[in-house]
Symmetry: C2
Amino acid sequence: MQPLKNDRFLRALLREPVDATPVWMMRQAGRYLPEYRKIREQAGSFMDLCTNPELACEVTIQPIKRFPLDAAILFSDILTIPDAMGLGLYFEEGEGPRFKKPVRTSADVRALGNPDPETELRYVTDAVRLIRRTLDNSIPLIGFAGSPWTLATYMVEGSSTKTFSRVKGMLYGEPELLHRMLTTIADSVTRYLNAQIAAGAQAVMIFDTWGGVLTPGDYRDFSLQYMQRIIDGLTREAEGRKVPVILFTKGGAQWLEQMADTGADALGIDWSTDLALARKRVGNRVALQGNLDPAVLYAAPDVIRERVAGVLEAFGHGPGHVFNLGHGINPDVDPEHAGALINAVHELSAQYHK
Amino acid sequence: MQPLKNDRFLRALLREPVDATPVWMMRQAGRYLPEYRKIREQAGSFMDLCTNPELACEVTIQPIKRFPLDAAILFSDILTIPDAMGLGLYFEEGEGPRFKKPVRTSADVRALGNPDPETELRYVTDAVRLIRRTLDNSIPLIGFAGSPWTLATYMVEGSSTKTFSRVKGMLYGEPELLHRMLTTIADSVTRYLNAQIAAGAQAVMIFDTWGGVLTPGDYRDFSLQYMQRIIDGLTREAEGRKVPVILFTKGGAQWLEQMADTGADALGIDWSTDLALARKRVGNRVALQGNLDPAVLYAAPDVIRERVAGVLEAFGHGPGHVFNLGHGINPDVDPEHAGALINAVHELSAQYHK
């Protein structure tokens, strides 16, 4: 295996010196790119795109062709696991994800399997292998999965939700049932991420999109605990390098210290927290990834540059920062604005690494 | 004017001793009550209900008839102000609020008036007077308004939003225009709240529903600053009593210290923060209102009781706590569960006030 041509991203995650701050964007392969919308249209449904390794590879690579990004991220969906568990994932246009068979009863929970990634999620590991070949060691590839709590919210609700009434009904009313379910999911996610790593993912990220809707105690017991279980079971080295783990709880800024205790290498930070404060709180224990407000991309390039400068300054000197948005890039953003962000990060960050 | 029969709520807001922790629920006059749904159906649209003082009074009183609540809150909507400014508020079933004439340009901002509450929002002050007469000094009445930033999000977007693309586009791209708009809104809100106080509101609450989507610096500059402007201009005494001000930024737990600096008497706290920690952070400067996860009401009454006990214990001994949910009560909650919450607060809190 050749060495990576650009390993800034992996080095920054491990708080090793770099020449400039690496940058990627959550949902960088997505609807804001006209070339993505074209493939998406040809593919049919969103899931048709996810389950076709050639197309998944193509859209993963699209932003890499356009921009000097420091990492690629597998194009997929966090709900592939519940789908492989037999819940019947489907998407209704403008409605978000839905499951044909949501998990509501103790029998439903018992029936949940532990999908074999190399057979039941083969389309994902095939995509990882194909993307790695295509990237040809230019930049690293990030694998990912949803957190057990986040997956459980969709699995129990059967769709997106604003009130989390069913899953919180279970949390408050039948906590043991939810714990059993979260254990099963955590074990499946561990196996799934390890399969991604075996197939070539060089870093992995756990997306805890909905951890922030919990009370501090419930976050610890129902979300963080199961992310810890995953981290404890992950392959942490492959191809002679460490495989860094990034933990991201949206709205979890109050719990950074506890998140750092899990043994994750880096924490994703949303834009509600100043990076300087976040860094002070976690010290040298973890790297930080973030945290530009995605809405900054609605502004003109000179404003984007100014705000990028602000985030870089907030983190300050030294290694341990991966630049990212605080959430996925919005579909109505001008791709040129994304380019302005990426260039600004590289140009303005060099001074912090001297 | 007779003294209030039950002034626990006002006393707690001013951190004066009480016999039990007072309790009310955000959106306590709302869709979870069958008697509300009945009136709502008869009234026609949601705005027909808001603009009819007799009906607004009736639904305000409905939860008071059912439960031993310690405060009533005016039934109204935060968007009455932009409506009175001429934006043409309307509601589409299942779509949330919309404006016929959103604010997008500098000319739109200049055209915004400062509505006279006693004429253009007379239906609100009439409702306040009628509710006060109906309550007959049993419990106090809370008036309220939206924060300037929160109102601006609706006024610029023209509807609910997930991405805040237009208003943040303005924030990042034309900050001076947004500042001018927020100044106008803040002055209108001040006038509006003072009119509610003159009409009989005995405490007022500022709902900053969307302050939490801002970065820390932007929260200070575009939301908190204008709430401060309102607080500075409020009538703080009426009928020989202090009129306490409650400030609530949803998702604002990271900024409690700054919120306490505004001179508000109390801060609303959502359920993402432990009350013990929140109390430690703000010390004796303000009272705290909150913070049960509204989803606890999906659980059985014994679980509700347990979780109420947890919140009371987190706040601990002494005055300065108003019990509430961390957000509005959800429409699909069983009213008996709300009753269980209210009874639990009164029964379990007495020990903390000895």
